[in-house]
Amino acid sequence: MIEFRGVGKRFADGTDAVIDFSLVMPSHRVTVLVGSSGSGKTTILRMINRMVDATVGTVEIDGEDVATLEPVQLRRRIGYVMQSGGLLPHRRVLDNITTVPRLNGMGRAEADERGLSLMDTVGLDRTLARRYPHQLSGGQQQRVGVARGLAVDPNILLMDEPFGAVDPIVRADLQAELLRLQRDIGKTVVFVTHDIDEAFLLGDQVVILSTGGVIAQQGTPAEILANPASDFVADFVGADRGRRALRVVEQDGRRVVVDGDGRAAGVLTDDPAAR
């Protein structure tokens, strides 16, 4: 469990990125921080592994104040996946994945074995192990990033707009893969995005942030959709634009779901197995 208590961050230039932020991120669940730029979502994420230190308040991991922990050791037990991978361009895929286990003193053979099995986990062909990052597609690089984040089998996985730089088709693929993976491994995931659809798809808990890390609303996707707390939230999730106001229309004996603009969104079915 990660808990923020009255956390604030003022940068050296005097701007307040985050003002009085409090939140509990439950274990083994995906918490998505969603907001536009300037909402402080990345700053909040980076306070967990002390890439940014809070100016006021405390961040606790399982009751332990991160400010009392040594940053390097703390970061080595937290997985971190960033936009566009952040892979080391001079290291091969396998060496990128095993970087942290090797830093922690794991032997090469053991680390390589672990790295290869992680490639399986994230759906990367093992033949790519000897390639360099630039020889991979954007989607493959992102998978390497995820594998690297999981390399030390961390309890916590921080993901900072990890799928922001890939095209929509690959992104959908990666999102589905992450959901499947999370069902198997059940990490405490903190995921930052500016894409509300991605937030609703991936989040067990969705936290909508407005400027300065102010929580506009938090809850499950269903709770937020059913009851937007403010005009800001309604606007953000698109409820007021009718995008999410779906209704059913009979068409050739089947029930077709259409959105507020009259565009077909899908077919209604009673079969729970069909998805």
Binding site: D13, M51, R77, G86, V166
Partner: protein, 248 residues
């Protein structure tokens, strides 16, 4: 044209092997001064450059200092240094002059190499749990190697060209042929010596060019082809920008 033929004849004369001032010995001296000065320059400039590149501090000072060092006239400096340390220690004076010449290029290569590393890569390395030393030696130094080699390359060329001055304080080297040529009006000898210096410079330049290529390959960096639009990272959002600034 005649002069060139004379120079070639002078170069191929058996006297160059058996007579006084044999070529091999002078070339050896010239290379020795170059290598020694280059190593000393690198020992000073590489750590300093890495420190500047990694911390982002002191860059202004380095630029100013480099500019000043480059503006110093080598011959005048050599004369003063030799007078200070005494003719018996002329080698120390000469190496000091060559080092002053070599440091700026290497320094610039070292810090430019580190600075050129994609900040998101450094950020990722730090977020993974690398210590600052590990970031410097396992990420910034290898990725900055091609630019560092570029700095060494231009330092080496400048030192080879300037090592001619060693002859003026009685240290030999290939400059001796030029000095003799001028004072004895033996222009075949002067031109022959100059040709040798040029050849030496070209060979060293080629070796560094190969080393740079190998380094670029080894760090796996693609020749800078444009990546498809969809794979390019989006511009940094403002909150991320400020966190990056904070780290620096």
């Amino acid at each position: 044209m005649n002069l060139f033929l004379d120079a070639l004849a002078w170069l191929t004369d058996p006297e160059r092997v058996t007579g006084p001032n044999p070529l091999a010995e002078r070339i050896g001296e010239h290379l020795w001064y170059t290598v020694l000065a280059l190593v000393v320059s690198a020992l000073i400039a590489v750590p300093l450059g890495y420190l500047i590149g990694h911390t982002g501090k002191g860059r202004q000072l380095a630029v100013l200092g480099s500019g000043a060092a480059r503006a110093l006239p080598s011959l005048g400096l050599l004369t003063i240094f030799t007078l200070i340390v005494g003719v018996g220690n002329a080698q120390v004076a000469a190496i000091a002059v060559f080092v002053i010449l070599g440091v700026p290029s290497i320094l610039a290569g070292a810090y430019a190499g580190v600075e050129a590393v994609d900040r998101s890569v450094v950020d990722a390395a730090r977020a993974m749990g690398m210590t600052e030393t590990q970031i410097l030696f396992r990420v910034e130094a290898p990725l900055g190697l091609p630019l560092l080699l570029g700095g060494l390359r231009s330092a080496a060329l400048q030192i080879i060209a300037t090592a001619v001055l060693a002859a003026y304080v009685g240290l030999g080297g290939l400059g001796i042929y030029i000095q003799r040529g001028i004072s004895l009006r033996t222009y075949d000898e002067m031109l022959g010596g100059a040709i040798l210096i040029v050849l030496l410079a070209l060979i060293v330049d080629a070796l560094f060019a190969i080393a740079e290529r190998v380094a670029r390959r080894a760090i796996g960096s693609a020749p800078s082809r444009g990546r498809p639009r969809s794979e390019r990272p989006e511009p940094l959002s403002t909150d991320r920008q400020s966190t990056l600034e904070e780290i620096r």
